[in-house]
């Protein structure tokens, strides 16, 4: 009985053989938190990437080796949880016919899950997870050949900008607040490292952590206030940072809050309300139709998903541009094989015009002692954003040229 069943299973498997199917489609997986506290980023990233792929499919697909192949998407919700993310990565890497993955919002998920992609050599473009650890883990391990790329302004750049901004505001004493996740802890380390690198002119008078789900931040803020902090430098995700903003309001502790790009999440902006106004964070993209380069993407996103406001504009635009770059790499590779796609991502020849920038060879051959080889963004692609009445605007309108520009590095 058992034997006959497995024979039947074998026959079924071979009769619908992927050989015929696989020749016609490129399978790409999109993973991220489509529910939970990080969902605004995950959903926007997914929808941005889907927008790009649906435009490509409308044109008939990606030309691979002279033949047009449609993109078929596989979506998996990792719920922003490390263990769930590891399961998703195991599942996708064992499918056997997935060419590449775009996704991951939570650094912890990348830390737990990406090893499965590396083992199988499956190409992954991390976006928008920014935690430094998701690439430095591979340089620490001394991996020689890495199929993991990042398309997001990593925390190193962001921490640099946050510290620059604090110095520009003429501050001397700051408090560092962070959540207890991999993202928050590595953000804290990046901030402190940056403060030292920029001459130690800022004095960290308090370092306080909080847990995911905490609603009352009075304790941490009282300590920061008592220590004389002139600003809160913060690394966390939307809901908890909103609790910090309203706690500040409650205590009458009116100092600037500067932190990672997650301060642009809708669940920060909407929950914090008026208490979030003036908050500063690095951005690679601003939802502002007066930026000529961004306008077509913003309009297409609004139309496709019936919204007037993108939940996380940065994630959406990065998802979109990452998808365009991946499609170009598959075209240049002339193959759906992950190994070949990896090579062509490292050696892109055509400049890809995206919603964020013109991407001219964003990545190069992986060098374990220099993670920048697999990082697409540089300081020059990134601007400071500011929360203003429920939206993120340019903190310094003069920086608009950065987002208009060619963005080559």
């Amino acid at each position: 009985m058992k034997a006959s069943r497995s024979v039947v299973a074998f026959l079924i498997a071979t009769s619908f053989s992927p050989v015929a199917m696989a020749a016609d489609v490129v399978k790409i997986a999109l993973t991220g938190p489509f529910s939970g506290g990080s969902a605004p980023m995950g959903v926007s990233m997914r929808d941005g990437a889907k927008l790009a792929f649906s435009e490509i499919n409308q044109r008939g697909g990606i030309i691979v080796g002279g033949k047009k192949m449609k993109v078929e998407l596989i979506e998996r919700d990792d719920e922003g949880k490390n263990d769930r993310g590891a399961l998703v990565a195991q599942e996708i890497s064992s499918m056997g016919d997935v060419s590449a993955v775009i996704g991951t919002v939570n650094t912890g998920v990348a830390v737990m899950g990406d090893k499965y992609y590396v083992e199988k050599g499956i190409v992954k473009i991390i976006s928008p997870a920014a935690g430094s650890l998701s690439l430095t883990q591979w340089s620490k391990a001394g991996v020689k050949d890495l199929p993991i790329f990042r398309f997001a302004a990593h925390d190193g750049i962001q921490a640099q900008m946050v510290v620059e901004k604090a110095l520009m505001l003429g501050l001397s004493k700051v408090a560092v607040l962070h959540d207890a996740t991999n993202y928050g802890v590595s953000g804290r380390d990046d901030l402190i490292a940056q403060i030292n690198r920029q001459g130690g002119k800022l004095k960290v008078v308090a370092v306080e952590k909080f847990a995911i789900g905490d609603k009352d931040m009075t304790g941490q803020l009282i300590k920061a206030k008592a220590a004389g902090a002139q600003a809160i430098l913060i690394w966390g995700i939307g809901p908890e940072m909103a609790a910090v903003a309203s706690g500040k309001e409650k205590l009458g502790f009116r100092v600037p809050m500067i932190g990672g790009w997650t301060l642009s999440m809708s669940n920060f902006i909407d929950t914090a309300g008026a208490s979030g106004n003036g908050t500063l964070m690095p951005q690679t993209f601003i939802e502002d139709e007066s930026i000529a380069r961004a306008k077509p993407f913003i309009q297409a996103y609004h139309k496709a998903y019936g919204v007037a406001k993108i939940p996380s504009p940065v994630s959406a635009a990065q998802g979109y541009d990452a998808a365009l770059l991946l499609a170009e790499a598959i075209h240049e590779a002339g193959s759906t094989s992950p190994a070949k796609i990896k090579l062509s991502l490292e050696n892109l020849t055509v400049t890809v015009k995206g919603a964020i920038a013109d991407w001219k060879k964003p990545w190069s051959k992986w060098n374990p002692s220099n993670v920048e080889t697999h990082e697409a963004f540089r300081r020059a692609n990134t601007v400071m954003g500011k929360v203003q009445n429920g939206r993120v605007v340019l903190a310094n309108p003069a920086e608009k040229f950065v987002l208009q520009g060619t963005g080559t590095k």
């Binding site: 529910s35 506290g37 905490d214 009352d216 304790g219 009282i222 309001e249 309300g273």
Partner: protein, 294 residues
Amino acid sequence: MDAKYLALVQMAVGGGVMGMAYALVAYGFQLTYAAGKAVNFGQGELVMLGAFAGITLTGIGLPYWAVVPGAMVVGALLGWFIERVAVRLALKQRNEGWILLTIIVGLFALSSVENIWGREDRPFPVPWPAEALDFFGISFTWSELAIVVGALGMMTLVELAKRYTMAGIAVQAVSADPDAAELCGIRSRSAISLSWAVSGAAAAFAGTVIGPVTTVGPTMAAALTLKAFSVAVVAGLDSGFGLVIAGVALGAAENLSGYALGSGWREAPGLILLILALALRPQGVFGKKIIRKV
């Protein structure tokens, strides 16, 4: 006052306010325990459902003063429903199935909420300003004030109703001796149903006053049930206003230890208090000792 002490007082006040919220949820345990000797382990989920009902009613344009009673009606119906489907049969069969059944109903509520409203935490819109009030250097918000006033007001109203209305006296009679009450012509089944409905309404009311402070999401339920149950057990399940003292003590202890020892230690003193209370006064700090006559 010295800034250091002021900070401690600030933490204690903030914690005390959350403690009032625990007490209000714990009060729901007390109501159903008095009448039918059973409690709803899905009480936190009722709080959450009350909060979501409130947000939904606000969404269709109702003002806050209409949203609160609206949510309470939803809560009362749910409380009645839980007693009807999950508790009554198990109690009739004299088994402890109601423990599992109320947990299951709670989990079911949790999944429904995740599917209907999603998993995101969202703000609860309120009519009062977001600015903080200052009281001799201690700041608190209007929303926190609403928890204090709401919890005390709700409990006072129900306690008065228990003493001075026909239905309230009937519930008390059933609570004292169901068989004797039946002999006096009181339908104990209706009295128990009533107490579950009131308990449900109190939970939903709690949702509408806690929501503005904590934001509303499916995960708000689990922690609330546990904390409120601890408060109910520490105070005693028949302690009346003793709950408020136990609740405020637990909330303040949590906040103070989080402040003094670090945020990871928030939960520890509450648990130690719970263990101590159970060891020293198993009937509850404010509970009455039951003397069984043989």
